[in-house]
Symmetry: C2
Subunit: 346 residues, 2 copies
């Protein structure tokens, strides 16, 4: 049976407010919400109008989840791992250390059972979640001193977000929670020793290269970092079916486009940073291996005490193993060869 | 100014026909067109209805481009490299040997200037193109005998699509064009020595493993292979703006989802093939390097004689170099480490 063409008779005018966790200056991420609003508006001839508010305009950047849960705003654009204080399980919707890369995360969400698991989890927060952007693998941050051995992590005061904090804490790092605007002075004064943020394009704007010389990679705690639209469930259910579909597809477009923007914008930013004297450094195998071991030990501990974590982690882990099997064959051997033809240039 | 809410007054009932280049049995690719049709229908309350026809139902699988160009059908779902006989430039919309991986292709299209270049190219064919799916890196195909040296390529009769054919021909391979249904018997009888098709999931269905033992990777001529919706330009322009937006976003959703489907379905198919005795083999560095050299030499020859090719290839090449610079830092070092923790299991 074909659905009745209800839209022609009854397309209602709907105005929503979207609270972003991000400032407008973080333009690559912020734009994903703008793209959603533009597409939804264009697809409905202006009838479905989503007004975007930057962090702090309506609610604080990290207050957006509660605002959506309580129905204060209809939706927000944020990253799940901002809410690990409520439950670490939120991190699966953004990034967990040594997790999935951007494409694997998409595979998990769309065809690997991830979307169902996450939507079930988010129901407890009155939220309907839709993926909306990814940064790809982030950089490992800015350090005032070189990290030569694992011992150099001991006592390192570092601004770091998400589950990277508790993992690095197990190796002696002292994670710091510092709002974006306060990081630069803290690093400049030496109140902190290191900061991870996003990648070349965003990091350059905050000027970290002026006060820290060493720029490490990869940000192994964010092999990809996904953003999402969180929508009050009741408000979502009240939308006409047509608008629900339009919103979902607009998010898919924004999701694709944000990854593309980062993949482009990071190139020239990296070149500018290198030209201005930034020293690129790879994390040592010793550091990565120790962190990898601690991360999976921590996940097992979470599973033992948090049923919500366990319910997602167990199939997620199996999915990850499967994906690495397949990616290790065609995809990685292609990438390895193509990169090898560049003669190791960086 | 906000657009007038024309949709409520005037949303027209529109019926389109979509000719697919693929049989229904190639379900992962075929589904992308079905997803587009489902989403467009849902987003318009059934008013915009796209009926899908498998290869051969309305027009032959490789006749779809002309059918769209001439307005016989409104749109088709196909792969650009099927039309390299008209102009090799079509291949940029699908895959060229040693080209971009799936994510880099997206970056090129959405933010790297690729969409503008391709749309300009497709105008000459009365076509508005929208990306609609990707397979990721394909496998390198099935071989009755092992390829031990470059010399083993000499005289090898191989079914291969796209620009992989002319590249391998420069190394002595004799490329064969054979329709899907005829490949298996040709390989069984030894009329051909090898065949490349897609990857484990699709290849298994055609049963190549029963008549060829060695399964090589990667398909370096398809580091990713993109599918597209080609729409008759006049028909696209006649759509209400709302429907244009709805169609574009439905394609973005289908584009994401198809890559995710392949990333999931290939895993178990690969396991089944390996369990049934298929021998996985990596192409040697010697073969890959020789093919890489011939590919780029061929691209330069195309540039010298084909202005349309040159117009896209030159910025494409610069884009590829840029992307490899950035991907070589955070993304690849993350993937390399994660794969290393599996201890080389395959």
């Amino acid at each position: 049976a074909v659905a009745a063409p209800a839209i022609a008779q009854s397309a209602p005018t709907i105005k929503w407010r979207l609270a972003s966790s991000f400032p407008k200056s973080l333009d690559t991420i912020f734009a994903a919400a703008e793209v959603v609003a533009q597409h939804v508006k264009a697809a409905t001839g202006g009838k479905f109008d989503i007004q975007i508010f930057a962090a702090g305009e309506l609610v604080p950047g990290l207050g957006v989840l509660d605002a959506v849960k309580d129905g204060t705003v209809e939706c927000c654009h944020t990253a799940g791992y901002y809410f690990i204080g409520k439950d670490p399980t939120f991190a699966f919707d953004a990034a967990i250390p040594f997790g999935l890369n951007s494409r694997q995360q998409n595979a998990w969400l769309w065809e690997g059972g991830g979307m169902e698991l996450l939507r079930d989890f988010f129901k407890d927060y009155n939220i309907h979640n839709i993926p909306c952007g990814n940064t790809g693998t982030q950089m490992g941050g800015w350090y005032r001193k070189e990290l030569k051995t694992l011992a150099d992590l001991k006592g390192l005061k570092m601004r770091i977000g998400g589950l990277g904090g508790p993992v690095l804490a197990r190796l002696g790092v002292v994670p710091q929670q510092i709002a974006a605007g306060d990081i630069y002075p803290a690093l400049e004064k030496g109140t902190i020793d290191a900061v991870e943020w996003v990648g070349p394009y965003d990091d350059e704007k905050l000027g970290f290269n002026k006060v820290a010389k060493y720029y490490y990679y990869p940000g192994f705690w964010e092999g990809s970092a996904q953003l999402s639209l969180y929508i009050n469930q009741k408000k979502f259910q009240e939308l006409p079916k047509e608008y629900q579909q339009i919103l979902e597809d607009a998010c898919a477009y924004a999701h694709l486009e944000m990854q593309a923007r980062y993949d482009i914008k990071n190139v020239n930013a990296l070149r500018r940073l290198a030209a201005a004297g930034t020293q690129l450094r790879a994390f040592s195998k010793e550091v990565m291996s120790a962190a990898n071991k601690e991360a999976f030990a921590m996940y097992d501990e979470y599973s033992a005490k948090n049923p919500k974590w366990k319910k997602i982690y167990e199939p997620w882990k199996k999915f990850r193993d499967d994906e690495l099997l397949w990616f290790g064959v065609a995809e990685k051997s292609f990438d390895d060869f193509v990169h090898s033809t560049r003669g190791g240039k960086r």
